[in-house]
């Protein structure tokens, strides 16, 4: 087979992609920045983050602190600049820039699933040696709140010892519930009379709640005639909004999404457990507001802050948006429910949060400035400031410090959930985008009534993902012939 050099082809393909971009609306990339000499001249440090996402924006808001620190500590004149894109467009923005070997962004706030896509073509710095030789980073590396931080935010292949990212923020799915309604004596009496057990009003009671029990609470508060609903979750086709929730249900119901060593999907994802989990998750819609079958994170926040739902299952990172002046005394944040499988209480959720990665195409000065920024970021003092502003820190020293859970109302649930027993991550593969699109299409089809069977949705997904992984050489097992007849 004929081959052409990868670098030449990359440049050429980006020229060709201008045609594709007519359909895609992708803006042309700016020219590579001039490399400043590492002198007293100001260093511009550019961070690409997630637009409209509080923890990402906090890093930028805290940048002046870093600029002052760098000046004092190293005599450096650094100026941090910001670029951002929403979740849905950030990957394209980052990847197209990196594919052109552009030093446009020094540090990129990535998502853990993108690590494979960025690391495989060597667009980002492998951090093992950097961490080993930088005492401040090395110290942080051994001080994460749980091993899941390393596996999720740093490694490619998943759970290997190849480190490509560092955690920008940790995050977990938590449950925002209406404390005022739970504390209401009349509600407590009616609930006990109806279901024979008391409404949980304390954190510890919620921490071990099962889905079956939780649904009784949701059904109790669900009152569509008054425009009030039991629950808000996520079913949007955008990005991974529905997937995060469905995969959490899969794990809790005892299923797996694939075999991450053999890359086998067919027969794993479309298991009876996963079919039951998906069916259960979609059935929650009967307690959710009209139109919730296309909802994403912002809808959950709107519904909760406008007093239209009793509970919202969404990210701890949206805590600052949930606790509006109107709601601050009415909400409680608790661990989301678990599910009993063979006598074992599974309370496993898809990990949120993001790592940040360093662009490999930087000059020495920019690279050093990027490392300086990260060294500053993992100072306990910085992490504590981040926490005070509403970000989710990942240093044990900060999270385990007395008083941490009192800083914000969601930190107790965050701390409780951010352990290996409660968190799992999904593929870090370079073809993650394709795998994600396939399952998002199938699962949202079920949620919106385009198809009517969880089995069909999971079988379609398994067929498509098996084919994708076969086509890209990750597995030598083709999807079975029966897949030809499985459509949405």
């Amino acid at each position: 087979m004929r081959k052409i050099s990868a670098s030449k082809a990359a440049v050429a393909v980006l020229a060709a992609s201008s045609l594709l971009s007519m359909a895609a609306g992708v803006a042309p990339r700016p020219a590579a920045r001039q490399q400043p000499a590492r002198t007293s001249r100001p260093i511009q440090l550019s961070i690409l983050g997630i637009g409209g996402w509080t923890p990402s924006e906090l890093a930028l808001r805290m940048a002046p602190q870093f600029e002052a620190y760098a000046k004092k500590q190293w005599g450096l004149n650094v100026h941090v600049t910001e670029a951002s894109a929403p979740f849905t467009a950030l990957y394209q923005k980052a990847a197209t820039s990196l594919a052109a070997h552009s030093p446009q962004y020094d540090i990129i706030i990535s998502d853990s699933q993108w690590l494979g896509a960025f690391a495989t073509p060597q667009w980002i710095v492998r951090l093992n040696r950097v961490i080993q030789t930088t005492p401040m980073l090395n110290k942080a590396e051994h001080n994460w709140i749980a091993p899941i931080i390393k596996w999720s935010y740093q490694t490619y292949p998943y759970q290997s010892n190849n480190l490509y990212g560092l955690p920008q923020e940790g995050d977990t799915l938590v449950l925002y519930v209406r404390k005022d309604l739970l504390d209401n004596a009349k509600n407590q009496a009616s609930f006990k009379a109806k279901y024979g057990w008391p409404l949980p009003t304390h954190f510890s009671q919620w921490a071990h709640l099962r889905w079956s029990k939780f649904m009784q609470i949701v059904a109790f508060f669900n009152d569509p005639k008054k425009g009030f609903y039991g629950l808000a979750t996520e079913y949007s086709k955008t990005y991974d909004f529905m997937s995060d929730h469905v995969m959490s249900m899969d794990w809790m119901w005892g299923g797996q999404i694939w075999n991450h060593k053999t890359h086998q999907v067919y027969g794993v994802l479309n298991s009876p457990q996963n079919n039951a989990a998906l069916h259960y998750y979609v059935n929650l819609l009967k307690y959710e507001p009209p139109g919730a079958n296309t909802w994403g994170i912002s809808h959950d926040i709107n519904a909760m802050t406008q007093g239209k739902v009793f509970a919202a299952l969404t990210w701890s990172a949206v805590g600052p948006a949930m606790f509006t002046p109107k709601m601050k005394n009415k909400l409680m944040v608790v661990p989301p429910p678990g599910h009993m499988v063979n006598g074992h209480f599974n309370q496993i959720y898809c990990i949120g949060g993001q790592p940040w990665v360093i662009n490999r195409f930087l000059n020495k000065q920019q690279m050093q400035a990027s490392l300086d920024f990260l060294k500053w970021w993992y100072l306990p003092r910085t992490q504590l400031n981040f926490a005070k502003l509403g970000g989710n820190p990942v240093l044990k020293q900060v999270v385990d410090a007395p008083g941490f859970t009192k800083i914000h109302p969601w930190y107790r649930a965050y701390k409780y959930m951010m352990v290996d027993a409660h968190q799992r991550d999904f593929w870090h593969n370079p073809d993650y985008a394709q795998l994600l699109a396939e399952q998002q299409a199938a699962w949202t089809a079920l949620a919106t009534g385009v198809i009517h069977s969880a089995k069909q949705a999971n079988t379609y997904t398994a067929c498509q993902q098996q084919k994708t992984l076969y086509d890209t050489g990750f597995t030598n097992k083709q999807p079975p012939a029966s897949c030809r007849n499985v459509h949405l």
């Binding site: 060709a16 594709l20 609306g25 394209q92 139109g291 699109a437 949202t444 385009v450």
Partner: protein, 307 residues
Amino acid sequence: MPPSVAPWWRRRLPPPLFAWLLVVPVLAFFAIWNIVPLLWMIGLSFYRYILTFGVNPVYVGLQNFSQILQDYNVWAHIGLTVLFVIGAVGVETLLGVLLGFAFWGQTTLPGRRLALTLLFSPMVLAPVAVGTFFRLIYDPMYGILPYYIHQFFGVPAPNLLGNGSTAFLSVLATDVWMWTPFMILMTIAALGAVPRAMLEASAVDRLSIPRRLRYVIWPHAKFILVLGVLLRTIDAFKTFGLVSAMTAGGPGNATQLISLTLYREAFDSFSMGSASALALFALFIAIAFTSIYLFVLNYQKREVAAE
């Protein structure tokens, strides 16, 4: 009047060469930004090349095309796109022609200019902005349309974009709202091409309206009108921003037009070889559409020539 004197270099240049010199910048621009990327895209369609895999492009011949031809989803998305094009362009043309006739000749109508300006404003808006607004308008909990449907008809507020059977029609209706003004504009332009003398003569001869349309208006207006339909067809085939903002191709794949599939292949999966093949395939379909229109447009001319 003294004769104009051209500069010395202009007088030394032979006219054809001067003409070429004027055209060269445009040709160079066209070659650099259109032809070269197009050729690269064609070349790339014969390679397997995924940017995120960090592997050299591998020549695979027609494999990308063969995979497209065998992919059920691609055909389903093309089918949906064709349906979208036929539905959108059909309704827009019908409404555009009717409204175009309504505005035709109404030069003394009070507020005509303002009405036309307001009428044309949707088509100058960015599709993503229109998509975002309509997503909010259609929202069953906060949107104004489901609210009024609920108020007037006493039925539950419909979930227009969250239902597999109504999402496609809702997106189509938004496209119609956005692009009908374009067809009004083309109709007004087309009717403006009809000689006033012929219209007056047809009125004097008391030609019936259908005959006036067929023998007087259509022969003069058809070129601009069909050009409008042609432009809308090509544009509708490329619809992306509107659908992306409204449904992201969902629910399920109910509004997954081929442009969204192409975008996903190129800028989510970064599979440049197969994306190029798919882009080429879509280009052939667009060319086929264009050819059909041109064939129909020239049909009568050919018949006359044959006689």
